[in-house]
Subunit: 375 residues, 4 copies
């Protein structure tokens, strides 16, 4: 069975996430990059295709529209099967819309769109298209994050009471006028209504939802823009009340100086509790009321079949960010191939909920930190 | 110079904190326990004095009033110099009031009183008495907590932007009808308006204030009582806005299953950041914008004179909870002896602010999580 | 510039390291697997090629000899450029010998051969061939391991005095008759004179040599075979004296129950010291005589250009075992492409020294733990 | 029941361990310092007694002989019950000998004497005296070290196979001519035949013996003196073979730059394994063949009665070096009071074995690293 073929939109010179998508998508030998529209500027797209991705010039397209048009004409077996969208947020919708219209499955970076309105519209387009749409909330690909969800689902935690999710970065602690990654993330015209909460707060929300399965009932947010002249939030805290009585707090920041990419999740139930952090991604600590804490390990004895399926290496051979990211692509590709048992990747449902979260967080904060209903 | 002498109110059979006060007060060889009123029940007080504290029967008093009356009559050199109050919260004020009236200095467990009103009244009594009053927010005694404060004061952090303080315990995750410690802490008649936030949330507030020196401007709290039938909060999150623009969040819980006594503080400034946690109490991680993180160690090279003064052992010989607690007693005793350079212990000023915090947190939560001004 | 093409010998059903080589070699987009001889049994080779590696049947060869013969005939641009040897140890030499004879570069798993004699012979063959030969001591690919070497080279440590290297696994704590990986590693006919020290002790030696640049002068070893009936060592400790006066100890075990793959290196110099462990692979702790410890981080501020070149992701996005492994392939491929600045991969020189280490360790232990000269 | 009374020999100005003994002995309210001979120089002894220990001048004696003579004359209830010996090594025997002769129990710092010959002689004196003799190998006082021993005794580890004990310090990485602690420890006339191995290697041996109960059968040592002009070892590694087939290695160093006081113990059995380190003294990791690792915690659920008896505080309230040290005093004092269930402190048996270890380690190293029989 041949590898699936994909094209990439975005990921040109100076980008970070484009290469991540390429490495992640190809890691498990199920897919290969065959084309792309790497920049809105045709020459830069071509040079990126050749220099970064080692593609023939003909398949480094001058625009995503040109790519979809050309690939559509290629025979199956040559043309791309799906497109990866790794652009700034404002371009997600137009690219996805055109991909779906021209018959290509989509893997899209998060947040899914520029606005909730767009997300809802996209959801309809996807439903009508019959095509697959994945959203790269990549932290859900870690084996121990999936183990956490398994433990919640198994009931071992009892009723969930408290959730803490902290996602702290420091790279935007200062204005970063020369940093291409910083520019668009702090620009309302490209990022949307939120900065930090669009970029990483949305990951935190997704992680909480993925692991706990809880629905937010209402929330109260206090966002800040600490760097002078910054138009979007670079930091914030959100209190959450979940349906059923659990409480939670998300702290997200991009001005947490010295923090690199610290994502940490704690879930406390009536019978047991979980703690996971990306800095020790291959461990999951489980604590109990009646016995000492246990440390589950990726690939280790006693982990669930679900977690084992998201593990490539024996325990103690650390898997990291790329492997977690790759897991989503693996699940996406297996789904495209018709494997009904796969499919464990975030979809437009997560995307819509995520955009609602972003917009309600901003609305709450703009209202001075009022509690707003959610959903 | 002879040791200072002290009496203890509370700390009878089944108590935990009484022995802690005794060990902490005596550790540095500056004070010794000479008497006490260990229980409201005279026989139990006497047996505790003899069995637990190895005191002569005559100085295990039947009540704190009896103790103050008797000790007052003893000649200096025999009679106690100060009293330690280690009772449930509702007794702090009456004992302290009588101690001050009869001429004894006071070391009092936290929170300082049952209510803010009492705290304000006590503040006046202290001022009029000319006596010393210390409050055992013991976490401020850790060398690395003091180092953190020194670093903030030195300006190395720049302007503080974000503060996270997490204090999580799990021991009240269930109803604990047989646990004496649990009983009074969950009883509004003895604990006051708050449960978890009176007991440990107040420590978190004090720690934040101690290290940062920031003033809370307003706060928004969401408290919960997760255990059926519990009348006081056993969990909560508080958003804070500080004067000058910094933001913060305190998470405190006593239902965080499996968490023992996890106190963790993060402070992010415009130029550097700090992280400390009790589980690794002898380290302080300092992160910078422009260079790799540095780990300060209790007793280690490069720590401040202030931190060194709160260190008894060479680096790598772990000092723990008792040593931190003892540091407050050391500072208190040196102050009583007239050492003007000492005095680094929480006072009624912290007590009043702490009670205001407790009451505003409860008020905010009771109002559905509204923002309330502070101070 | 097109990707380099490679074939794989070994890596059939039930193998672990074959897929690792495939993922590592392909990660950076510089190479792609095009053929292989995955099993000594032709049908199993073919099915592995198709099922695991998604190759056309024609290029899943019935034997490595058949592969070299056929690939030699293919035009450049189609045929493989190099071969990856991922077989049990006894097959390394015959496969490598034939690869060199038929004009293919080689990447070979460790230890390089079955015996020192073979390694020396192979060294000559390589020299005469003019082809490139890499040895996958993959731990040298970690950015922070390379940072460690940079710090040693920079002189910041002063004169090295003490080296501790611990490599502990527990997966062979029992006889594992059903485990294909265990079978050949404990079989003298396939593994060579050493078990644990051939498999992982050799990694420890290589890591020490790579980071410190020190030459072993003499050594004293005490090996054990703890599992009943096991013919080769499954555990051992080796004392080392280095030229110039430094001392060291390597502890390696495959019966260290519960240890997964714990590799830990400590180097103490006269002016500074280093500590690295795979469980926290993206950190390197540097300790000094005169100031607090500093934590270097992969991708972090202040790391060397060499370490940055071995880093794909921003700091805080964990890179793991596969990425470190991939780094060797990246350096190998860049070398094949003529990049003179690359070439940072272990070679036959490491292989020969490693085999000498293995044989002297076994000889010392067999002599009751006598000190033997080295080199 | 009144507190036991003790005198201290050593512990004058500039000493470190004297105050440690005082704090440790007094912590649990069972003993109090009443006298001492703090320096060989009478005036300095007197000023130490008054300034450091707040004793009356009359009981700060001019010499240990004067102390024993005077205290012997005091009525029971006033006079000291036991003496604490906290001098350099060469004085342990003469002080202990005189204490026993004049009827005082002894708590002695380690190593027990200057030489094995002295230790054997002291053993006889103790036996004839009928008095109690404790040896402050203080690391055996940690609750989790005792838990480790309980787990070994329970059989949960199966047969022990491998033991690693690492005790690394860096404070003697340079000549320290001004440091009183360094002076005597590097002086053969006061320290004995060993430097690092007398000071901390002996702790490692004791810890291994305490937890495993194994007997060393033979050993092979390689010691170094890295600092120019140093007469005694400041670093070394020792291979051990235990009766019954287990193997072990002790690494000890005082030139491990940046290491503070890092003591780490790993024990691997056929069925489970243990890991403890002083830097995380309140945890004990237990690993198994068939299930995930478990973390035992001081004061935590599921710890043994023995460990609970060595715990003063609820889990999560860190106990450190002083508390572990105090545990030996607690056990010693309870024994003096006739509590037959106590007595869990190292004795002259440990002292004799420890001196034999020191002398054989030095002999092996002096013989070029030969294996020597032990015991």
């Amino acid at each position: 069975m041949a590898k699936l073929k994909f094209g990439l939109v975005g990921g040109g010179h100076g980008a970070f996430i484009g290469q991540v998508h390429r490495m992640a998508a190809e890691l498990d030998g199920l897919a290969e990059l065959v084309c792309g529209a790497f920049s809105a500027e045709p020459n830069r797209s071509r040079s990126a295709g050749m220099d970064i991705y080692h593609l023939p010039a003909a398949r480094a397209y001058s625009s995503f529209s040109a790519m979809f048009a050309a690939e559509q004409q290629l025979p199956i077996g040559q043309r791309m099967d799906f497109v990866v969208i790794a652009t700034p947020n404002h371009m997600h919708f137009p690219v996805a819309e055109e991909a779906l219209r021209t018959g290509f499955h989509v893997m899209c970076d998060k947040p899914v769109t520029f606005s909730l309105e767009q997300a809802l519209l996209l959801q309809k387009l996807i439903q009508h298209s019959g095509l697959s749409f994945g959203l790269t909330h990549n932290y859900t690909g870690y084996a121990m994050v999936r183990e956490a969800r398994e433990l919640v689902r198994s009931g071992v935690l009892g009723a969930i009471r408290r959730v803490n999710c902290e996602y702290l970065q420091g790279w935007l602690a200062r204005a970063e006028p020369q940093n291409k990654q910083a520019q668009w993330r702090t620009d309302p015209a490209r990022a949307g209504v939120a900065g930090c909460f669009g970029d990483i707060g949305s990951h935190a929300e997704n992680l909480v939802s993925f692991v706990t399965g809880l629905d937010i009932e209402s929330l109260c947010a206090d966002l800040s823009a600490f760097v002078d002249g910054r138009e979007l939030d670079d930091d914030g805290n959100v209190l959450m009340r979940f349906r059923g009585g659990a409480k939670g707090v998300i702290s997200a920041s991009q001005i947490a100086l010295g923090k690199e990419n610290d994502l940490r999740l704690q879930i406390y139930g009536s019978a047991a509790a979980l703690e996971w952090q990306q800095a020790d991604a291959n461990s999951l600590v489980v604590r109990f009321a009646d016995k000492p804490a246990v440390v589950h390990r990726a690939g280790g004895i006693g982990t669930s079949a679900t977690a084992m399926a998201a593990t490539r290496l024996p325990a103690g051979h650390p898997e990291g960010y790329l492997e977690a990211f790759a897991q989503l692509y693996k699940d996406f590709c297996l789904t495209l191939r018709g494997d009904k048992s796969a499919g464990d990747f975030p979809t437009i449902v997560d995307g819509v909920r995520g955009m609602r979260f972003i917009e309600q967080v901003v609305a709450s904060s703009n209202a001075g930190g009022q509690w707003l209903p959610f959903g």
